[in-house]
Symmetry: C2
Subunit: 253 residues, 2 copies
């Protein structure tokens, strides 16, 4: 398996075709997985926004005021309003704002990015990253898969890692259930989230910032003879951490 | 960046030198990252165990009885005893047993594996995976990094993905703090868990089960000019999900 960055991508602007920008710079082969950072997807889709677009309601003002007290860093209530409008549920209001986005991803500030924004105040995540992945895939001549990626923190472990937000041309996961080890025992690993692992691989190669290369091609990944699943985001009924967070309240020492 | 499996590894037995087994089958280059599944590390270190080694105390009996009721699948209390003895804290007793291992990893059943065990009842995780990684690294001639890997589920997202349990010759993460994007804004991504992303990459290649290849080499990964950190496992004070789980109790509908 190989992973390489697509070179010399220009600054992406609203209306740009990411498929064309990629195809002009690299020879894709059937079976390639094209991993595209959500930042450039958002830019191509014109998902920049301004604080003035989000007059703050009472809940946003309350959240921002509390976060200002806790972090010592004033958080504009209009930013909190933008996070709320991108979200279907608030999992944690403090000491940071953790929500579920409209498409199911759980992330801090609904994944809204305040770097990489050019002249705008911030960059929203794509509204429907799987739809974005499908459109990019349809624009490419080779029979590839497309994964729209982001980076995200997580409980239990420090640091961020690449995750998938949307995908097309590949199932979200592959299923090892029912398969056995060398001794005939059923495997402990059941369902492997390949799109997240592909996003992690891409993030090792892509870098960030000035020298960042937001599109990485993973070549010669073999999905193998497995059933696939399109499920990536857990439902609350199935997610005990989300249930625990519903009953939890941040308290300063 | 390339990733390839080390071919034709034999069944690993207690006392085997994993460094020798790998070096005999592949030409390693300086800078390679050798990702080794914890199962074969545990086998080489003789970390197989039998239920009869773990006479169950009252807490293990209580946990096993409750899990038996909930899951309908009887869980031997001696297995629960083994999990407790590998752990420093129980995060969740039901509907599955989630603990922090003695070396800091949070996993279901303390990562104890009931497949891939040969004649033994189960396979414990390495006692000190970073020590294991250091020993493997010292046994190799090339100047490589070694990552001991496992697969693990997570909140918010379905499926398992590769994670690092121990590492040597490479920092756990790289630090992007203070770096700026093309527009001069500070980056949102701060610390990237490269060892977890390397483990995820390896898991895409390694497969599982009969055809599993437990050692994967990642070549031409560039860490780049960044500060590194050796921290991977969060402390409770810094982990709000762990705090929330402390106050949470599973209740059946």
């Amino acid at each position: 398996m190989h992973a390489f960055a697509v070179p010399d991508l220009p600054e992406v602007r609203p209306g740009d075709s990411l498929a064309d920008l990629v195809a002009e710079r690299t020879d894709l082969a059937d079976g390639d997985v094209v991993c595209v950072a959500s930042t450039v997807v958002s830019k191509a889709e014109g998902r920049t926004a301004s604080l003035s677009d989000y007059p703050a309601g009472p809940r946003a003002r309350e959240i921002a005021s509390r976060l200002g007290e806790i972090t010592g860093d004033y958080k504009d209530p209009r930013f909190a309003q933008a996070v709320l409008e991108e979200s279907v549920e608030v999992l944690m209001e403090a000491p940071f704002l953790l929500t579920e986005t409209v498409f199911g991803h759980v992330g801090v500030n609904a994944g809204i990015d305040r770097s990489n924004t050019g002249d705008a105040d911030f960059l929203l995540l794509p509204r429907d990253p799987t739809g974005s992945a499908e459109r990019i895939r349809e624009g490419l001549d080779a029979d590839v898969a497309v994964v729209v990626t982001d980076t995200s923190g997580r409980p239990f472990r420090h640091g961020q890692r690449g995750v998938a937000l949307g995908w097309a041309g590949i199932p979200a996961s592959r299923d090892w259930r029912g398969e056995t080890d060398r001794d005939g025992h059923e495997l402990a690993v059941t369902v492997e989230s390949v799109v997240d692992e592909l996003a992690a691989t891409a993030n090792l190669v892509s870098g960030e910032g000035d020298a960042g290369t937001p599109v990485v091609v993973v070549r010669d990944f073999e999905f193998g003879d497995h059933d696939g699943s399109e499920e990536l985001y857990r439902e609350v009924a199935d997610d005990f951490v989300r249930q625990a967070l519903r009953g939890w309240e941040y308290a300063r020492d």
